[in-house]
């Protein structure tokens, strides 16, 4: 009895693995394919975005702010911001764009989402790593003080981006309004997420509110705690942010579950 069930589960798992592999390759070919730089665009694209901005900021701002090296601080704010903006921005109508794949019954909307947003995430993480190495070689960035905390910050930033992208993807198939409000919303997000401030710079009362309603702030604090070590004062609560992100993810999965009802196939 139980063995039969394990076998069925194993077979389902194999199908799942094959489908995701196929969608990953498809996404890859569709977006970067065999043209010019090919897959190098995967991380070149975010880099083209990030480096000029970092260069500009370092010119117009003082080299040290709040005792932190400007370029390192901007890098730790801007690159995680790009993860969020690219992963969630791509999520609008992500299922509709690949609806032709739903003609194969094994392919679910969630598979399409994972294929597309997963690849976007990998590309942005690669861009983070590459730009870090580049700035390190130029002498602007030191190796992180605490690698574990540094990577944990990126993990939570990625999780947060994927969780929000799930909701954006599922809701955009339900109503076009999402497309119109997502632009301004993600713009305002820049101001509040923690991209250019640290929790320690806020007044105590505001800091409490920010840490309660602003999950990415925890991720930013972790990244900066890992990067700068004890030279900065940081605030984060790993168990709190894990709970919040788990809830956001569940809401996203729940919305994604019946997204098929809202799709009109060609």
């Amino acid at each position: 009895m139980i063995f039969a069930e394990i076998r069925v589960f194993g077979r389902a798992l194999a199908v799942q693995r094959r489908v995701l592999g196929a969608l990953f390759m498809r996404e890859f070919m569709t977006r970067w394919g065999r043209r010019n730089l090919g897959f190098a665009w995967l991380f070149a694209e975010p880099l083209v975005f990030a480096l000029p901005v970092i260069a500009m900021w370092s010119q117009i701002r003082a080299p040290f702010e709040h005792g932190l090296p400007m370029i390192a601080f901007v890098w730790s704010g801007y690159l995680p911001l790009l993860i969020f903006r690219h992963v969630t921005g791509q999520a609008l109508y992500t299922i509709k764009y690949s609806a032709a794949m739903l003609y194969h019954r094994q392919v679910t909307p969630l598979d399409i989402f994972i294929g597309r947003q997963g690849l976007e995430l990998i590309g942005n993480i690669a861009a983070c790593a590459l730009s870090f190495l580049l700035l390190h070689m130029l002498g602007f960035l030191d190796w992180p003080d605490d690698y574990g905390l540094f990577l944990a910050g990126f993990f939570y930033m990625s999780w947060w981006s994927i969780a929000v992208a799930l909701i954006v993807a599922a809701l955009s198939e339900r109503s076009e309004i999402v497309e119109h409000i997502w632009g301004p919303t993600s713009y305002m997000y820049m101001a509040v997420c923690g991209f250019f401030f640290m929790a320690a710079w806020l007044p105590t009362s505001l800091r409490q509110i920010a840490l309660t309603v602003d999950p990415p702030l925890h991720a930013y604090e972790m990244i900066r705690a890992g990067l700068f070590g004890s030279s900065v004062q940081t605030f984060y609560d790993i168990s709190y942010v894990s709970w919040i992100l788990a809830i956001v993810t569940l809401i996203g999965l729940w919305l994604m579950r019946d997204v098929r009802k809202h799709l009109v196939l060609e």
């Binding site: 196929a22 498809r26 070919m29 032709a100 194969h104 019954r105 799709l263």
Partner: protein
Amino acid sequence: MITVTDISKDYHSETRRTYHRVLSNLSFVLKPGEKLAVLGSNGAGKSTLIRLVAGVEMPTIGRIERTMSVSWPVGSAGGVGGSMTGNDNIRLICRIYNKPFKLIRGYVDDFAELGKYLGEPVMTYSAGMRARLNFALSLAVDFDCYLIDEVIAVGDHRFQRRSHEELFEKRADRSLILASHIPQIVKDYCSRALVLHRGRGKIFDDLDLAFEIYHDL
């Protein structure tokens, strides 16, 4: 066997706060080896019915049970991706359905006769070429039941002859649901017909009678 029990399908209107009932209270059974035509004018719900039977859309009410493997809806859209090349599409299908690439590629190359165009993006194909690729892929994967939405009619004479050969001589034991409004093709392929009109459907065992009624609607 495919058992369709009392299905209805509604679509929300894009412009008004209402919905359109595309299919209503439809029931039929498709046995192994049976070849069923679906007749109906444009917008009668032929493609919708095929997508529902394929399981890529859900009926609003009712149930569809499948005890045999069913193809994806084979038409000139869907199933294959536009900006990927023909070869990439073959690879994709092989991965999803767990088939060896070489074998499938060989079959598709022989049947669809696309030659060097297999290396070009599918969006540069004509409707006929796309239909040939899609149909060849579904034949290569090998299903118990084929769901075909007009594509045979898109192909040229030679393609039609070969399709007939593949579906009848080599796969006589398989089932088929074919949406079409071309009498000759329906008579060549099918033994029964489901006539759709304003969401309602009725099965006819006599194809000539089915056409007569379809034309009188």
